[in-house]
């Protein structure tokens, strides 16, 4: 029996290893070991004030830190009955879009594209494709500029607070940002042409399921109250604990999730498969140009689905800037908050997929229970399923070829392993002790 082992998967965030045991064209075993060290968010949040939760929780992950910070604010607000203005929602959406532009650009251009063009990384790729790399970095930078402006910092936002913001951007800053976003949208055209010319190997599995939050309203987006599976099942986000099941395993620090024993995939491809028909404008054109068959069961198409979402995020961010420029921003007083007993559950879509935050508080606003489930943890079982599938369908290839295929597939999920290791789960009345 052949054993293929990748001891440290490169060009992904965090520490992960993969072991695949093959017997002829039968895959005997696939183990994705996310061995990132635990950092004890469980212990830190318990008994702490609601005021500190977003700043602690966003440290779970840097790349999608804005998503953690904003989702945590929303969950606390729900638990404590704090209402939020339409303006705050709009600015939070803008911050989210900045995160999508930055995170997807990082993954597509710096981490995944070298596989398509035959390089070990962006440094090598820049030797031969300096123009593409320079343009890609500028697009990524714009995502960070959005986050700097709205979040106060590109990583671990500091400007978001309960019910609003510490400081609002000026019209001049929004105007400048709008110009930058429009330039990047034009710059993406050449990149889309390049990507449309690259071939994506067929990794399509038969049984792959998808899950995403249905965007509120008619359009595309990342906020909503209902989670939807590609087999038609749907649940209120608040009932996520009955929607799918989490299990622990011996070999990974992250829990696996399945629905009736079936793995499911979350992320850009899941969103495009489920809600891509809601896209308009250049995002819809890009989806057609990149020839992603909808629904696509090829996890590698997640890379291209992220490209579509970069275009969507740029277009939507421009729309928001236009709205702000037309209507202006009003200084809004921050709400007076009275701590109360309660629970808040929020599901949002982050670059890598659905994020669940659930926090419970006592009458003093201190945390009594917390649960965070991240996209990479959700994707873990799906990665193993798809590795088993391509291992079987590519039997007979050399060990080096299989290693490349496997690593490329894992990378297509854009794993964020810091996020995935079972970060927060404390149940009421069960004080979690680790040492």
């Amino acid at each position: 029996m052949a054993k293929i082992h990748l001891d440290h998967i490169s060009r992904v965030e965090g520490h992960g290893a993969l072991t695949v045991k093959l017997d002829g064209n039968t895959v005997q075993e696939v183990k994705l070991n996310l061995f990132e060290g635990m950092r004890g968010f469980e212990k830190v949040v318990l008994g702490r004030s609601y005021t500190e939760i977003p700043a602690i929780i966003c440290r779970i992950c840097a790349i999608c830190s804005a998503g953690h910070a904003i989702t945590a604010h929303m969950a606390v607000e729900k638990a404590l009955g704090i209402s939020v203005s339409a303006q705050t929602e709009l600015l939070r959406e803008l911050a989210f879009l900045g995160m999508f532009i930055e995170s997807h650009s990082l993954h597509v251009f710096a981490l995944a594209l070298p596989d398509y063009l035959g390089y070990d990384g962006i440094a090598d790729m820049a030797q031969d494709h300096k123009d593409v790399v320079t343009t890609a970095l500028q697009i990524k930078k714009t995502g960070n500029c959005v986050q700097e402006l709205i979040g106060g910092r590109a990583i671990h936002h500091i400007n978001t607070t309960f019910g609003g913001f510490g400081k609002l951007p000026s019209q001049a800053e929004i105007n400048e940002l709008r110009e930058q976003l429009a330039n990047r949208l034009s710059a993406m055209e050449g990149i889309v042409e390049l990507l449309a010319g690259l071939s994506t190997p067929n990794y399509a599995g038969e049984e792959i399921l998808f899950m995403a939050v249905r965007p509120a309203g008619e359009g595309y987006g990342f906020f909503g109250d209902t989670i939807v599976f590609s087999d038609g099942r749907e649940f209120p986000a608040e009932q996520y604990q009955i929607a799918f099941q989490e299990t622990e395993n011996q070999y990974s620090n992250a829990k696996q999730s399945t629905i009736d024993g079936l793995p499911f995939m979350v992320g850009a491809l899941a969103r495009i498969n489920l809600f891509g028909d809601r896209l308009t404008g250049k995002a819809a054109e890009t989806l057609a140009k990149l020839q992603i068959p909808i629904p696509s069961k090829n996890a590698l198409h997640n890379n291209l689905a992220q490209v579509v979402e970069i275009i969507y995020a740029l277009e939507r961010a421009i729309e928001i800037c236009d709205q702000i420029l037309a209507e202006g921003l009003q200084a809004e007083p921050l709400p007076d908050i009275t701590p109360q007993t309660g629970q808040g559950i929020i599901a949002t879509e982050l670059p890598r997929g659905t994020l669940y935050h659930s926090f419970s508080f006592d009458e003093n606003g201190l945390v009594t229970a917390a649960d965070v489930i991240t996209p990479t943890a959700l994707n873990q079982a799906s990665v193993e399923q798809e590795i088993a599938f391509i291992g079987a369908s590519h039997a007979g290839q050399t060990e080096d070829q299989l290693k490349f295929l496997f690593e490329r597939l894992v990378r297509a999920y854009d794993p964020c392993i810091s996020c995935s290791v079972h970060v927060v789960q404390i149940k009421e009345g069960h004080k979690h002790t680790i040492d």
């Binding site: 520490h15 950092r39 212990k43 992950c61 840097a62 790399v133 040492d435």
Partner: protein, 231 residues
């Protein structure tokens, strides 16, 4: 230093935010990559040659055996080892949870760039110093000084628990400049004004214990034993 110093970038248990700050230097990244001989950066590059290093940057806290093994291996191969970010310098949130320890508990750390995450400007300055053959300059002053220079309204005076007087500067008072109290994410300052901060906080009805709990989020050991510094 050699024309092209051999650089390695490593992450232990962390959010990867400090490595991401390097990748977020979009305007400078290609210049940096041309100026150094990048021997290892697993987050961004495959097939890393490793070997002897002139400078190693290490992010994250030590929370497990594999972290310690990586750290010791990197230390044995590196001329200069730089702790990158609050978790590596102070232990950060992993220290508070009792799961993680800072790098200096295990190996000699030659220089520390603190912050959660580190500031891009500080990283770029450190890189240029290293390329010139110098160790980077330390910033001894607290956030409070930078805040005063920016002429912000004092949040302590308006009754908020602001950790600015006790926290290492270098962020140009980012949070207070957004009307948000400093959370101490950069760890303890080398030159804090404990007495003054204590007096102001007590005047507004906060106890030292409350402030210490706030500071403890990021400051690791320094918050437990006042005045303890990392060299």
């Amino acid at each position: 230093m050699k024309a092209k110093p051999r650089i390695g970038i490593y992450g232990l248990s962390s959010c990867a935010g400090d490595q991401l700050v390097l990748v977020n230097c979009e305007d400078e990244l290609l210049t940096i990559l041309e100026a150094v001989d990048l021997r290892s950066f697993v987050m961004a590059h495959s097939n890393n040659p490793e070997g002897e290093l002139d400078v190693a940057f290490v992010e994250g806290a030590v929370t497990q055996e594999s972290d310690l093994a990586t750290l010791k291996d990197v230390r044995s191969r590196a001329q200069i080892l730089i702790a990158l970010g609050t978790c590596a310098v102070w232990g950060g949130i992993p220290y508070l949870s009792g799961l993680g320890t800072p790098l200096s508990d295990h190996v000699q750390v030659d220089y520390a760039i603190t912050g959660c995450p580190i500031e891009k400007t500080q990283l770029l300055k450190a890189l240029s110093s290293l390329l010139r053959g110098d160790l980077p300059l330390s910033l001894p002053h607290p956030v409070c000084l930078e805040c005063t220079i920016r002429e912000n309204d004092c949040l302590l005076q308006s009754g908020e628990i602001c950790c600015g007087p006790l926290t290492a500067g270098g962020c140009n008072a980012r949070c207070p400049s957004h009307n948000r109290a400093c959370l101490g994410c950069r760890g303890a300052s080398h030159d804090p004004n404990y007495e003054s901060a204590r007096r102001i906080l007590e005047e507004h009805g906060y106890s030292v214990a409350e402030v210490r709990q706030r500071l403890a989020l990021f400051s690791g050991k320094a918050s437990v034993k006042e005045g303890t510094q990392v060299g």
